[in-house]
């Protein structure tokens, strides 16, 4: 008879520690791989599990081993069909069956699945929300009850029965409250004596017992089973809940000058920002505002896929944003982020108005305002990092100089998005640089 041990309920992820060590070890490789995928792949896939390919270098386990392509060996193989000694076989390409025993080199370059959390961890490593301080300074508006011991007063609904009965039990023992069994024992004895032969001794005994019974009953009445002093209530403290809501405004120019390419890049940028915020805040809402010469709030589908014709007046979008903040997202309760994507076109005289709007109000309400300008690939070498630019770019440069939480950048190809995103959100102690 062997010993049986049922291990099925033991913790399963025994090798979790090993997995974490491996991922840490392969961190750089994994990061590169994920970024590559985000750059080239679809946006919707970012926020999911990722299959990453793990190249052998960096995680190889070296040892002294024989070089395959040297020396003389003898392989013994089964299944000879028609060979005779002296037959010659052409050397097959490496890795083909028949190239000898030991086809074990399968471990290099394998692929495995990273969970969503692991992907995002790697992806957003050393990116930080700008100006997080403000969150802490915000008024605390929500409270959540939290258990905090026991109290002697409270509402009947929060009686703690266990505590109460424990107190009651202790008090009954301390005060020697007669037990029901004792009373019953005396009553039985009286009955027994009354049934038995009447004698003087019995009568005296009955009288004594009755007195005793009476005393015990009185004592029982005096000492309550559960006394008000026993009762305990659960105590709850109101725990302040820090404000952890964020709203993200996506502003985009949808006029004719924004083609599919521009929209797609804008979308990628917005998705990145959304993912990033989602990781930092419990609740993240998104508001989509599109504009031509007039702005309107739309749903995501419309925002990205429907077109509208018209001129370009950027300030309308800013005004719409200001209106929505005023209506729905008081800045005392919400962390407000805004990202604007545009090709830089604007109605000639409108840029001044944009500056005024931003300076005057919006930048005070916003945690962060990121502006990305999507430029043509052919123009990228002209605009690279020079002072040249569209009217909107010039206007925003003025704002950027004044507000540390205003960032702007240019994107020419999808591959630029992530570096730009990083540049905008890179953890830096000093945001003043712009």
């Amino acid at each position: 008879m062997p010993i049986f041990i049922d291990r099925r309920l033991n913790p399963k992820d025994k090798s979790l520690g090993n997995r974490q060590r491996f991922i840490r070890r392969a961190r750089n490789e994994l990061k590169r791989s994920i970024r590559e995928q985000v750059r080239s792949g679809k946006i919707a896939d970012v926020d999911a599990e990722h299959t990453v390919s793990m190249p052998a270098n960096g995680t190889s386990e070296p040892s002294f081993s024989d070089a395959r392509d040297s020396g003389r060996r003898r392989h013994v193989l089964p299944g000879n069909k028609h060979f005779a000694p002296g037959d010659r076989l052409p050397r097959p390409a490496p890795g083909m069956p028949g190239s000898g025993p030991g086809l074990k080199e399968m471990e290099d370059d394998f692929r495995f699945v990273l969970s969503r959390e692991e992907v995002l961890d790697l992806f957003f490593e050393d990116l930080e929300l700008p100006d997080l301080v403000k969150v802490n300074l915000k008024e605390i508006l929500a409270f959540k009850p939290r258990r905090a011991g026991f109290t002697a007063t409270g509402s009947p609904t929060s009686i703690n029965v266990g505590r109460t009965m424990r107190n009651s039990h202790g008090r009954r023992i301390a005060l020697k409250r007669p037990k029901l069994e004792e009373l019953e024992a005396i009553a039985r004895e009286i009955a027994a004596h009354e049934k038995g032969a009447p004698s003087v001794a019995a009568r005296e005994r009955i009288a004594a017992l009755k007195v005793e019974l009476d005393r015990l009953e009185r004592r029982r009445r005096l000492i309550a089973y559960v006394d008000p002093v026993d009762i305990r209530y659960n105590r709850f403290d109101a725990q302040p809940v820090p404000n952890a809501n964020a709203v993200m405004f996506c502003l985009m120019d949808v006029s004719g000058s924004m083609g599919e390419r521009e929209k797609d890049m804008a979308k990628r940028f917005f998705v990145l920002l959304h993912l990033f915020l989602k990781r930092r805040y419990d609740a993240t809402e998104i508001v989509f505002i599109r504009h031509t010469h007039q702005a309107q709030e739309v749903d995501e589908e419309t925002f990205f896929y429907s077109t509208q014709s018209g001129g370009t007046v950027v300030s309308t979008a800013l005004e719409e944003m200001r209106r929505i903040i005023g209506e729905r997202y008081p800045s005392s309760e919400w962390n407000i982020y805004a990202a604007q994507a545009s090709d830089g076109d604007n109605f000639a005289t409108d840029s001044e108005r944009c500056i005024a709007l931003l300076d005057g109000e919006i930048m005070r309400l916003c945690q962060y305002f990121a502006y990305v300008e999507i430029i043509d690939e052919r123009e990228s070498h002209i605009f690279g990092s020079t002072e040249n630019g569209t009217s909107l770019w010039h206007a925003y440069e003025a704002v950027s100089a004044q507000w540390p939480n205003f960032q702007m950048s240019r994107i020419a190809t999808p591959a630029d998005i992530y570096p730009v995103f990083r540049q905008l959100f890179t953890r830096q102690p000093d945001q003043q640089g712009g």
Binding site: F22, F64, S65, A67, R72, H75, L77, R88, L89, P97
Partner: protein, 515 residues
């Protein structure tokens, strides 16, 4: 269900298992194994695990306890991937060479499979672990689990105290040398100083007795001065016990830079490598023994009416999956299946002992027709490893059955040449080539510490004895040399010396490789 099974004499019916059933099956199987096959086993501890836990166990080299290291995580991910893709099924069982012998059973197995696995692992492997001389000599089954527990705790403690990165660096280096971290031979016991003096006295005595004036007349060696440094080199080699094939042992004892805890980690890795060394030398025998035992026991149970036909079919199907051996030109071919070869050889021994042909009498005069195949097998299981077992027992009949042939592979020629096949001239050669391919001592690179001048440049000199012109794979070699240098603290060189000619073929030093 259990009652109806009991009435019909069957051990079980249906595919569900529970603990009483497992226990009954084990008792029945064990009884037959001991009476019929005369097996001798450690007490058994059966643990039921789920498939995830089986994957976990895979990744930590099959041990229930293991210290943490990223390479295990890598193996886990690799195994998991293969498993998820359906590329590889999980083993039905895992067995650990310990006392009590721990057998893991998967919860997904049907009752028939559990019975099969019980016979295979709890009796077959168990008997082999307890009786094979390699395991008896090199492993201590009763203490391995507590040692692993210590190792795991110790390394976790080191990680806390010295940081993950520090411990990881040492473990990486130690793992790289794991193949060179085992003792292959027992060394003679060290002489006490008294014995040593005695030895010197005896030698002097002998010299006095055999004094011959003629020796004096021999001319002195031409460069008499060279004797002096040579002598000191010999002496320092002797004090360090060089040459030394166990690099991990040498580094643990003699490294100039390691802290005590780092030496302890080297020791842990070395002990574990040594523990697994016999298993690597006895794959064919170990699996063959277990497969032979389960096949024989299951058939006996079936003959006695203790297993139903349905269950037997399931068992046979699994059995034939396990011993499947495709030919070399089959796309599924991935080397010789140790289960198949082991089982075939053992059944072949059974045949030779009971129904020998004239050829068998010729080849195996001492066992052919002796009648007691149990005795012969028990003896083989106890006293052989793969290499010697094949050299001793691979019969021409089996070579013909497997249609073995030897392919000579010379690296710089554009073709392979068929050297021997299953004919009268080839039997010996095939057998010896196959045995050689299972000789771990010959198939792993032979690397030794040959010299180090502790008072001079402290360069650790390693020597690789090149056999048949097979050199080391360069990138792996360089990376490993860097690891050795890390452990040793000073420069390390590796010289390749051709074993046949004694000529140096190459020399690499860690300092030349750079980081």
């Amino acid at each position: 269900m259990t009652q109806s099974a009991a009435r019909s004499g069957l051990l079980f019916s249906g595919s569900d298992w529970d603990f009483p059933l497992l226990s009954r099956a084990y008792d029945a199987i064990e009884a037959i194994a001991i009476e019929d096959l005369h097996l001798d086993v450690y007490p058994v501890q059966m643990e039921i695990i789920s498939s995830e836990q089986m994957l976990d166990a895979y990744s930590s080299v099959g041990m229930p306890l293991m210290y943490r290291h990223w390479s295990f995580g890598k193996h886990f991910l690799h195994q998991e991937l293969l498993y998820r893709k359906g590329g590889r099924g999980l083993a039905y069982e895992l067995v650990i060479n310990s006392n009590p012998c721990i057998v893991y059973l998967m919860e997904e197995n049907t009752m028939a499979l559990q019975a099969l696995v019980t016979a295979h692992a709890a009796l077959g492997h168990n008997h082999f672990f307890k009786n094979n001389h390699l395991f008896r000599q090199w492993t201590d089954a009763s203490s391995i689990l507590s040692y692993l527990d210590f190792a795991k705790r110790y390394i976790a403690q080191c990680e806390e105290r010295h940081g993950l990165a520090e411990v990881e660096a040492i473990l990486d280096a130690a793992h790289a040398l794991m193949d060179q971290g085992v003792f292959r031979y027992h060394r003679p016991p060290k002489l006490t100083s008294e014995q040593r003096r005695e030895e010197i006295r005896e030698r002097l005595e002998y010299e006095e007795q055999s004094y011959n004036d003629l020796w004096r007349t021999l001319p002195a060696s031409k460069d008499g001065k060279d004797d002096e440094p040579d002598d000191s080199a010999t002496e320092r080699k002797e004090t360090l016990n060089l040459p030394e094939e166990n690099l991990l042992y040498f580094l643990e004892k003699n490294s100039l830079v390691l802290e005590p805890w780092q030496r302890e980690i080297l020791r842990i890795v070395r002990v574990i490598a040594q523990y697994f060394y016999p298993q690597r030398q006895t794959q064919v025998m170990n699996e063959g023994c277990a497969t032979f035992v389960h096949y024989t026991l299951m058939n006996t149970l079936f003959d006695r009416g203790m297993i139903g036909e349905g269950a037997m079919l399931e068992i046979l199907k699994n059995h034939s999956n396990v011993v499947f051996q495709p030919g070399f030109d089959d796309p599924r071919f991935s080397g010789i299946n140790p289960y198949a070869l082991g089982l075939d050889m053992m059944q072949d021994i059974q045949r030779i002992v009971t129904q020998p042909t004239a050829e068998d009498r010729d080849w195996f005069p001492d066992i052919a027709g002796s009648g007691d195949w149990r005795e012969v097998l028990l003896d083989a299981w106890a006293n052989h490893r793969d290499e010697s077992f094949i050299r001793q027992y691979l019969s021409p009949a089996l070579i013909r059955k497997w249609r073995f042939f030897v392919l000579a592979d010379t690296a710089d020629e554009p073709f392979y040449e068929v050297a021997s096949i299953h004919n009268e001239r080839g039997y010996e050669k095939v057998r010896s080539a196959l045995a050689d391919s299972y000789d771990i001592g010959a198939t792993r690179p032979n690397i030794q510490v040959v010299d180090v001048d502790l008072l001079g440049d402290r360069q650790l000199r390693l020597q690789h004895k090149i056999k048949d012109g097979i050199v080391l794979e360069e990138t792996g070699c360089d990376a490993t040399l860097r690891h050795v240098r890390k452990l040793w603290g000073y420069d390390v060189s590796l010289a390749g010396v051709n074993m046949e000619t004694g000529l140096a073929v190459y020399e690499r030093t860690a300092s030349q490789i750079g980081d």
